[in-house]
Amino acid sequence: MSHKGLDIGTNMIVAAYTDEDGTPKFKMQRDAFYRIVPKSEVNKNSIRVSLDKRGSNYIVDSDGSYIVVGEDALEIAIERNDVAQRPMMKGVISPKEKASLPMLKLIIETLIGKGSDGDKCVYSVPARPIDGVFDIMYHTEMMGLYIGQMGYLADPINEAFAIALSELLDDGLTGICLSYGAGMTNVVVVHEGDPLVEFSITRAGDFIDQSVGNALDVSPSLVQMEKEAGTDLYNPSSKIMEAVAVYYTSVINYTLQNIAFELKKREKEIPIFRHPVPIVVSGGLTQASGFVKKVEEVLFRMSFPMPISEVRRAKDPMCAVANGCLLASNL
């Protein structure tokens, strides 16, 4: 019987599993695709040759068009001055994105493969947002359905709680975990392994890309690539990165203020913490240089409703959720 963890993110899907030796391994694929429609038979062949040469992951659809999947989808879209398609928006799938669902299903299956009797897969789902309205239930159930169809016993787990399982083992599973993804920022307050408060906020990486793109009239995909190539929040290297740094600060301010507001509102549900607790930040956004320092600065300026011992980044921000899901699948 095998165990697998799956982080289904808006931007990246990460799978975690253990091989025959029990060694944990991770596989990730960008959750994006780009369709190229050949204009002629000759064009069709040249596209295939070009994609093979590039080493791109692609699918040949039944109508003869090529669907580039993953990292190259983003690059090719930028080259063609276009935007890559994303099956998920703001952390969830939507029934309105019916055409994208087969791609999402295919990416997941490529990462976790087919399961057999008794194989378990724990997958991450976001919490209900406090500043938006999304059908979290539909997303949770559809992902469970697809993973079940692949032959697994599917079990959902809150994204931020998965980070807690991965990063708070040495803290008695007590603390606050923030998952700064592309679509949403997920928050959990855990006390001795019990997730007391779980919610999400709809401002995250995509908001930064869109805002900078609108402000500077550039493609959000381009902003995303620049951002992922390396961001220094205290020493931006270009006009785009300066704008990115500004919106980073805006997002961190917004998320921490909302977390403080929500914790104050729910203080009856939260026990009194005898000791200061750590805040663990994870997710693609936290890979920016100076992110932790920025969070500490914001916390210092505001009145946070519980004592904080430290702010630290997850050991591997891109794989923390998948790692937590994998650990949960072993329980």
Binding site: T18, D21, G22, T23, P24, K25, F26, K27, M28, Q29, L51, D52, S56, N57, Y58, I59, V60, D61, S62, I67, V69, G70, P95, K98, L101, P102, K105, L106, T110, L111, M137, Y138, E141, M142, L145, Y146, D155, I157, L165, S166, L169, D170, G172, L173, E192, G193, D194, P195, E198, K268, D316, M318, C319, N323, L326, L327, A328, N330, L331
Partner: protein, 246 residues
């Protein structure tokens, strides 16, 4: 046989064909000038014609046994007219009678429809009255509930027991449920064991697409086996099992 009337007669060598004044003068002159010739065949013919006509008159007068006077004829005419009049009168009287019967039928139908309408109106008025009474009852129940809630809040505030807001809310809810039950009204959510609607999710993908895949994803990060095993052990010791979903 009818009387032969010879329009033209022969007088000597002339044939006279007209009958104007001059012709009459000529005729007179011809008569006066010469003695008329007696046409015996004509006379015989005339006589026989007269005899025939006389006989005809006789037969006709002998055929009718009686002769009618003017009064009798008048009477007959009046009789015929009266008969016709009576016949028409009967006919129209019969028609009027039929129409009268139809009118009575229609009146009866209208009467029954009006009665039905009145009956339905009365039922509707009664139903509206009942609904008003129900609404009034509900209103009084809610007034009582609000009053009880206010009294409870005052009591709690007075006692200063330090009950949290959530606890207060749950107490109030229980109290309201009690009041509702005693008033004879049931609240749908009273029984937590009531079967709930099953949530159904439909896969919007119609069928698996026929595609040719060229996807090859290699492992990106490798952790140590020992690290993983120790993490699992640590987690099991801390958590045991995953917490129940809320």
């Amino acid at each position: 046989m009818g009387l032969r009337y010879n329009k033209e007669y022969v007088s000597k060598d002339r044939r006279i064909q007209t009958s104007g004044p001059r012709d009459m003068q000529r005729r007179l002159a011809s008569i006066s000038n010469s003695p008329p010739e007696v046409d015996h065949s004509l006379i015989m013919e005339l006589r026989s014609t007269i005899r025939d006509l006389q006989e005809q008159i006789k037969v006709k007068s002998n055929g009718s046994k009686e002769s009618f006077t003017a009064e009798q004829v008048n009477e007959e005419i009046i009789k015929a007219v009266k008969a016709e009049t009576y016949e028409l009168k009967d006919k129209y009287e019969a028609k009027i009678k039929q129409l009268e019967m139809d009118r009575v039928d229609l009146n009866n139908k209208i009467k029954s429809i009006v009665e039905e309408k009145d009956k339905k109106e009365a039922e509707l008025v009664l139903a509206i009255e009942q609904v008003k009474n129900e609404i009034e009852k509900e209103r009084s129940v809610f007034r009582d509930q609000l009053k009880a809630k206010d009294e409870l809040i005052i009591q709690i505030q007075k006692s200063n027991s330090g009950i949290s807001e959530d606890k207060l809310a749950s107490i109030l809810e229980e109290k309201i449920k009690e009041l509702a039950l005693t008033a004879g009204h049931s609240i749908e959510n009273v029984d937590p064991n009531r079967p709930k609607m099953e949530k159904v999710f439909i896969d919007p993908i119609d069928k698996e697409p026929e595609i040719e895949t060229h996807i090859n994803i290699s492992d990106s990060v490798v952790s140590k086996k020992e690290e993983m095993a120790s993490q699992v052990d640590k987690l099991k010791s801390l958590l045991g099992k995953l917490p129940n979903k809320k």
